[in-house]
């Protein structure tokens, strides 16, 4: 039983199978992304009623909240993959981490930028040293620090392992940083969706928000798979399977 799973895992994680499988999946992912995005945008911008306090400008949460969620999700995902890479030495895991980092940084930046745009009419300032904003900014620094480190190391394997350690150190530190900053200062509105008893957000706003979150998630997966394919080709261009594939491609 275990053996079968192990074999399946290895087969799937081998560059060659991954390349083929991801090639087949990507168009479907894009189609789903587009569907959810259009649905979410339509419901969010045209159907959902304006907020009784914040008017129309609250609608930026349909971009802001999903990107903030993604910024956290991607870092966690990278940490899990780094662990897999460091323990089992599966190359594909590092390819995914490497391809994710820039996307994670972009989502973090997007969350900060939209938060700032929303903050101007609401709090009367582009930037407020509020706890969640600050920890998001620190998260951006963590992403950029990772990118700086792996780009500075020339050897791919060393870069992968050093980056993996840094990501894991970061993931231990993120809760500490988050709670210390939270405790230092807080102004941000409390969580409205993940409250356990009953979300304090109306269904007409919750549905587009969840649709957008789904769209962002799928968008990330489609992009990261595309990036991973390019990264794989770049790393493996000397290997047999790439030559075989390319050779066949140029013949046919």
């Amino acid at each position: 039983m275990w053996n079968a799973i192990w074999v399946f895992f290895h087969k799937w994680a081998s560059p060659r199978y991954f390349y083929r499988l991801s090639g087949a999946v990507i168009p479907w992912l894009w189609a789903l992304t587009l569907l959810l995005l259009l649905g979410g945008l339509y419901l969010g911008l045209f159907v959902a009623p304006p907020d009784y306090q914040q008017g129309q400008s609250y609608r930026i949460i349909f971009v802001h909240v999903p990107s903030a969620w993604m910024s956290l999700f991607i870092y966690t995902f990278m940490a899990v993959l780094s662990g897999i890479y460091l323990i089992w030495n599966i190359k594909l895991a590092d390819v995914m981490v490497r391809s994710s980092a820039m996307l994670g940084a972009s989502f973090t930046f997007l969350a900060l930028a939209t938060g700032s745009l929303w903050g101007k009419p609401m709090w009367g300032a582009w930037w407020v040293w509020d706890a969640r904003l600050t920890s998001e900014l620190i998260l951006l620094f963590l992403y950029l620090g990772y990118l700086a480190l792996v780009n500075a190391i020339e050897d791919t394997r060393t870069a992968a392992r050093a980056g993996g350690v840094l990501i894991l150190v970061g993931v231990v530190n993120i809760p500490i940083i988050h709670y210390s900053v939270e405790w230092w200062n807080t102004l941000h509105q409390g969580a409205t969706v993940t409250k356990l008893d009953k979300p304090s957000i109306h269904v007409s706003m919750l549905i587009p928000l969840l649709l957008m979150a789904g769209a962002f998630q799928l968008y990330y997966f489609s992009l990261v798979l595309m990036r991973a394919r390019v990264e794989l080709l770049e790393r493996e261009w000397r290997s047999e399977w790439v030559r075989e594939m390319m050779g066949r491609g140029s013949d046919g």
């Binding site: 620190i138 620094f141 963590l142 950029l144 620090g145 700086a148 480190l149 500075a152 190391i153 394997r157 060393t158 392992r161 050093a162 350690v165 840094l166 894991l168 150190v169 970061g170 231990v172 530190n173 500490i176 940083i177 210390s180 900053v181 405790w183 230092w184």
Partner: protein, 222 residues
């Protein structure tokens, strides 16, 4: 095992003692940064008093980073680090010895110099006492956390700026809790909680950081 630990600490202290610039220059740097603030912002006592904990702690962070780079550098250059990795002793233990020696050379002198700078910043007596407590708990924490960053960048030709980028975000909790404790002490508020947090972080770093640093060193040497 204890013998190896003590031998390594003694060796590092001896080396630092012979190269006086190694521990003196960061200290000078520490003093200069603090001096810049009254010149740049305001010499007004009321302003200085508010800024003092933050200014001194930020100066500690920066001066600490300045000396951090040398923690493994010379051992890496002359090959001693490889011998340590190959030695029969557990690498995390040796790392701990290096970190202790680094703290004695960089953290402790700053701790001794801080009251003087605090007086220059017109900090009251209670604040200075609290500042010393936070430095006592906080600077080993900086050395431990920083050692991971140094170990990751030691093989790189221009690791200095990179080290700063990697390590500074990890220093933020220390900065927050320490300055908050000192500000609370200046204002006469209870500040046991912040110090407890710092101690908890120190225990956490003491148990985890040497292993991460050892792993990072192995990667850098491979």
């Amino acid at each position: 095992m204890i013998k190896a630990f003590i031998a390594l600490v003694r060796r590092d202290l001896l080396l630092a003692f012979r190269h006086r610039a190694e521990w003196f220059n960061p200290l000078l740097f520490f003093g200069m940064i603090v001096t810049l603030f009254p010149l740049g912002v305001s010499p007004e006592a009321s302003v200085l008093r508010v800024m003092a904990p933050g200014v001194i702690w930020i100066a500690v962070l920066l001066a600490g980073l300045f000396s951090l780079d040398s923690m493994f550098r010379s051992d890496f250059d002359d090959g001693a680090l490889e011998q340590m990795v190959l030695s029969p002793y557990p690498l995390p233990l040796l790392v701990l010895a290096k970190v202790l020696a680094h703290w004695l050379v960089s953290g402790l002198p700053m701790l001794l110099m801080a009251p003087l700078l605090a007086l220059l910043m017109t900090m009251p007596q209670d604040g200075i006492a609290m500042l010393e407590w936070t430095l006592l708990v906080g600077t080993p924490l900086l050395s431990l956390t920083g050692s991971i960053g140094v170990a990751l960048t030691v093989g790189l030709r221009r690791g200095g700026v990179l080290l700063t980028l990697i390590v500074l975000p990890l220093y933020i909790p220390v900065l927050i809790f320490s300055t908050n404790a000192v500000s609370a002490a200046v204002a006469g508020l209870p500040m046991g909680g912040q110090l407890d947090f710092l101690l908890a972080l120190l225990v956490l770093a003491l148990t985890l950081a040497p292993f991460a640093t050892a792993q990072a060193l192995r990667i850098s040497l491979s």
